[in-house]
């Protein structure tokens, strides 16, 4: 069996159960009240790898998030291999620090920025979104990040910036999946500028209150909750403002199966399987699938972006 232990990956025993995680303030408050810990107890946020954020309940689902274990062991991140378990098992050598992002194209302020400089002016927030994969499964993830639009505005895109293109890092030495051209590396993705500026679109730096693990796209990734998961490009090193619709990796690989828009749509099947329902990750063997919602449940918020478009044609 190919099973490598990844030192950067927490053991199951080290993972705080979700229920306790969400009660941590109450737990600490209880301990304080009981006089068991002093008020100089270090803030949980100061521990390494943990993030300071506020919870955005308004934009969060009420559903129970998947376990940290599910979210970090069942991943599509072909840069580390095409098995769902590969990213967790084969991303140990990846170094997300230090990290820079190069901003280019139709914007006033372009250049190469250190990730800390990119993030410093922004307050992080947690949002619980459902990730709907194009493979007809879904999981619920407590992401930590900031609205992508808030970041993009700082680069002052020009009126010619109709689209934003993103690029994943190219590091075959650290990303074994990049040594074979399963896709045309590096991975590229893109959004229309109004999609990128939409308040639901998240520039993500963490899950479950900690920095993103390598297998989830460290240190920076995109999350567009009304689109299939493959739009959520990981380990971003390039942001490019452009007038033309940029190429996207899965569309290049199989244009009949993966479009530029990739909006979650139960009415438009993938050519090889139905998109009408989805399997929830972490459910039991006998759990029923659940119906897939148009725009993954955000039809009200984002439907207007696609008014007048034939969604069968622009899949």
């Amino acid at each position: 069996m190919r099973k490598r232990t990844d030192p950067s990956r927490p053991r199951p025993s080290e993972i705080t159960p979700a229920a306790r995680y969400y009660n941590r303030r109450e737990i600490v408050a209880g301990l304080l009240a009981a006089g068991l810990v002093g008020s100089n107890w270090p803030d949980a946020h100061a521990a390494p790898g943990t993030l300071k954020f506020t919870r955005n309940t308004e934009l969060s689902l009420k559903e129970k998030p998947n376990s940290f274990e599910d979210i970090t062991t069942y991943n599509n991140f072909y840069e580390f291999g095409t098995e769902k378990s590969d990213p967790a098992e084969r991303s140990g050598r990846f170094r997300p620090k230090p990290w820079t992002v190069t901003v280019s194209g139709e914007a006033e302020k372009t250049g190469t920025f250190a990730v800390d400089d990119l993030l410093r002016p922004h307050a992080l927030e947690e949002r619980i979104y459902r990730l709907r994969c194009v493979e007809a499964w879904s999981m619920v993830v407590p992401w930590v990040g900031l609205p992508l639009g808030d970041l993009l505005k700082r680069f002052q895109p020009t009126s010619r910036a109709k689209y934003v293109a993103f690029k994943t890092v190219m590091r075959p030495a650290e990303m074994p999946g990049q040594r074979f051209p399963v896709l045309d590396w590096p991975y590229v993705e893109g959004l229309r500028i109004d999609e990128a500026m939409h308040p639901l679109t998240l520039f993500v730096v963490g899950i479950y209150g900690r920095e993103l693990p390598n297998q989830n796209g460290a240190p920076l990734r995109l999350v567009v909750p009304w689109k299939y998961g493959f739009k959520g490009i990981k380990s971003i090193v390039g942001i490019h403002f452009t007038e033309r619709m940029p190429p996207t990796s899965w569309n290049l690989s199989a244009p009949r199966e993966y479009g530029f828009y990739a909006n979650v749509n139960p009415a438009v099947d993938h050519p090889r399987w139905s998109q009408a329902s989805e399997r929830r990750i972490g459910a039991s063997l006998f759990a029923a699938k659940q119906p897939t919602l148009p725009f993954n449940g955000y039809a009200e918020q984002v439907g207007a972006l696609y008014r007048g478009m034939d969604l069968r044609k622009f899949y």
């Binding site: 069942y74 090889r272 399997r279």
Partner: protein, 228 residues
């Protein structure tokens, strides 16, 4: 000559000593199923992981296809290694392949598609990877049914003609896998390459036109001496 692959050992009196090859082969072929069963029942901390239906479906399907190809390896192996006794094991490998595929199909029907025949039937018709997988499965049913000694005797030389359907089923099985994957075609490509090699060997070993009647006669003789 294809006939050289026949289990040519002369009939022996009832075996005096116990042979281990069949029980050992049986256990080895059962191992992937035991492993999947252990993971399904959470034995000793094993599990099917975050997507149990997919793990079970793909585990059973992969092993069914692998064993189908191993079934096709038995005759070349028996000939090339000069181990005619290997042929004694072929039926068992084929039936294990079929068993994995029955479970694969059942898992798909019950756990993956939740017996929703309103969508299952159109899917079989309109999704090519399902069409070929389902066809392969149907083709294997008569082969499993006629795998007994009685059916071999009853069908005579027609038994061999019928069982060539495995050549089609294995190819369809490989295509089923190839057309299922999203971008990484490496594993199905390995299976297709193995299939091509195995079929190429058979093509090269096919009886020449002149010797065909003799070969057919030899085959029918072999058919009444199953598993000797």
């Amino acid at each position: 000559m294809a006939t050289s692959a026949a289990p040519a050992s002369p009939r022996r009196p009832a075996t005096r000593r116990f042979r281990f090859d069949k029980p050992v082969a049986f256990l080895v072929l059962a191992l992937p199923l035991l492993w999947l069963a252990g993971r399904t029942l959470s034995v000793g901390g094993l599990s099917l992981g975050p997507n149990p239906v997919e793990a079970l479906l793909h585990g059973l399907g992969s092993w069914g296809l692998r064993l189908l190809l191993i079934t096709l390896c038995v005759r070349p192996a028996a000939v090339l290694l000069r181990q005619p006794r290997l042929m004694r094991l072929r039926r068992m490998v084929g039936l294990w392949a079929f068993s994995y595929l029955v479970l694969h199909f059942t898992t798909w029907l019950v756990l993956d598609r939740e017996l929703d025949f309103g969508s299952i039937v159109p899917d079989i018709a309109k999704r090519p990877f399902i069409t070929v997988g389902f066809t392969a499965f149907l083709l294997l049913i008569p082969l499993a049914v006629t795998s007994t000694d009685r059916w071999m005797r009853r069908l005579g030389r027609r038994w061999h003609t019928l069982h060539r359907a495995i050549y089609v089923a294995a190819l369809l099985g490989c295509l089923h896998f190839l057309w299922l994957v999203k971008a990484d075609w490496r594993e199905p490509a390995i299976y297709l390459a193995l299939y091509a090699v195995l079929m190429g060997w058979r093509w090269q070993k096919r009886p020449s036109r002149a010797s065909r009647p003799a070969a057919a006669a030899a085959v029918s003789v072999r058919a009444v001496q199953p598993d000797s």
